[in-house]
């Protein structure tokens, strides 16, 4: 399919060691697939920042594909990605 650009925000930048990265994605691959690939690329600390390790469930946070907002708990993570998509991972946190 091509490449998507992934932008990290807040503490996900620390975990990834970068503000953004390009990911090669295959035809028909989805946001859910991207999340798994990111976990494989950036390791356990990154995964523990987006998934609760005791439940294995994704924490609630927003993923933006362009300006479209996809919720990890409410939305459709089977949203198919396209070449050139910009995907923003926003942080799962309360307080503030």
């Amino acid at each position: 399919m091509g490449k998507v650009k992934v932008k990290f925000f807040a503490h996900l930048r620390q975990a990834a060691g970068t503000n953004e990265t390009d990911m090669e994605m295959g035809e028909g691959e989805t946001v859910a697939d991207l999340i798994e690939r990111l976990g494989e690329k950036f390791g356990q600390d990154f995964t523990d920042r987006i998934k609760d390790p005791t439940t294995g469930m994704l924490a609630p946070f927003l993923i933006m594909v362009g300006r479209e907002e996809i919720s990890t708990v409410r939305g459709d993570l089977k949203h198919k990605l396209s070449n050139g998509d910009i995907v923003s991972l926003l942080e799962p946190v309360g307080g503030g």
């Binding site: 503490h11 920042r49 005791t54 609630p60 926003l90 946190v93 309360g94 307080g95």
Partner: protein, 604 residues
Amino acid sequence: MTNRKYSGMPLTKEIARLYLGGNGFGAKILYDEVKPGIDPLGPENKFVFAAGPIQGTMVPTAGRSGVFTKSPATGYFFDAYGGGSFGPEMKYAGWDAVIVEGQAKTPTYVTVFDDTVEFKDASHIWGKGTFEVQEILKKDLAEPKVQIACIGPAGEKLVRFACTIWGARAAGRGGNGAVLGSKKLKALVVRGTKDIEVPNIEEFQKVISDQYSRIKANPGTGKALPTLGTPGVTTTNNQLGILGTRNWQTEVFEEVEKISGEVMRSRLVVKDKGCMACPIYCTKLTYVKTGPYAGTFDEGPEYETIFAFGSNCGVASLEMIAKADRMSDELGVDTISAGAVISFAMECYEKGILSKEEVDGLDLRFGNETALLQLLEKLGKREGVGNLLAEGAVRAAKKIGKGSEKYAVTIKNLENAGHSPRGMKGYCLGMATSTRGGSHQDGRPTAERIGKSDRKVLEGKPEYAIGTQRATTMQDSMCVCRMTEGIYGLMEVTNEHLNIINVVTGMNLKLPELVDISDRIWNLERSFNCREGHRREHDVQAIRFMTEPIPDGPSKGMYSPSEELEMLKDKYYDLRGWDKKSGIPTKETLQRLGLTQQTKDFYK
């Protein structure tokens, strides 16, 4: 304070069961003991320090406590909370609440050492900043372990957004510090040596140990907040297009990367710090090494302060924000309102409504760091134009006129905090119908910001507003920290609240009773406000948010038109059991919640 007298009374089981603590105690005491129509800065107002049932135990985040009074900013019931260790020390001294009434003739500080209370002369610390005051009193009393709640020069000068400081924590909002200033109470010093007991220590340890593990595993409380603290929200809000910028003229800040939590971590943070009994360590101690603010040591800044002195004033320097935060703590001003009043003045200046002469020669353009810091000092001491602006944005706008009223971004006379009512429909309604108005702690933005609820839709938002208000009221009555809202429940009262309360108190409450407690307290606050004349027509948003769509960015076009808000309010009032025309809780609602006095007051 008037006669330097004190008395104590026991907390009854009935009051504990009906009102729980913290927020509940504050609301109950103030409704019963403060007559409607009194001047918040007069002798008839009362000021309550109160803790919840968990303070003094090792329940995670049990360092918190609150202050409660009639606000000189809103004229309504107001509650503000701070972390640290003040609340537990009050409980170790044997007190769930301390009520301050009357007015001293001369500057005074009060010590509460277990059951011994003394009134002491504060003339040697009057005029001093809050950190210096705490250092002096610890030396004077030769008691390094005391906890001290105090006001700075701003409270003494009755600045309408003065706050109360303990340690470096602020019970920030609503001008509560000015109420203490009006009573000439410079500081309340507490030291306690008593024990706190729980009914079953093994059960208690099991429950809190389980919660502790979940806090550490949760990505929000176990990773995000420990890494960046609340400043991590800055870039998230900007990416969604909901970061208040230049007095909320827009909601995207082009220089956000210069004031992000990420940059703060790498350049300023020297240590993580936790409040008492807290495993999260969200606080960041910062030090400015170079540049014009070199040597600034700060506890913070938090996200709200980064928004208030940063994007909302057009400033792109974390170092200046840290300096302003430190100054605010020492002066004893609420950073949110101080920043909002400054941004209001900046917009008036740029639009020609305030001339340079009228602002003491300051070049008050957005982004001018020097002018911001100079104006902040003036605000805290009511000097020059600071005297006008220390009245808050709404009162200042009334005096300035020339159409400046629409630039006062306030809800119920309280300057808006760092979250967007235009960009989050549920939060918008939650604020409009709240007790405090411009606070982000009655209705909450979190569930919409993290996608648990769709921020752009109206469907379900009356239920959302009520659910978040129930959750915050419960957390504030327990006095747990808001950073645990994701653990306890963002949008409802849950078994998490229940289990902690029952294992600490042994009251064996059921969940419906807990919801009733939350509703009782919320309706008591509402009754206080309605007794002061508050009605449906006052449950509105800031003028800017109701009339000006967000002009650009990912949330372009969003705003809160009046007809939309009125439609949501209809449903909200129905669900709350409030009269649709007046906004007063109905007789049935008050009776259901056992609010007998309030039933008599409104339905003779």
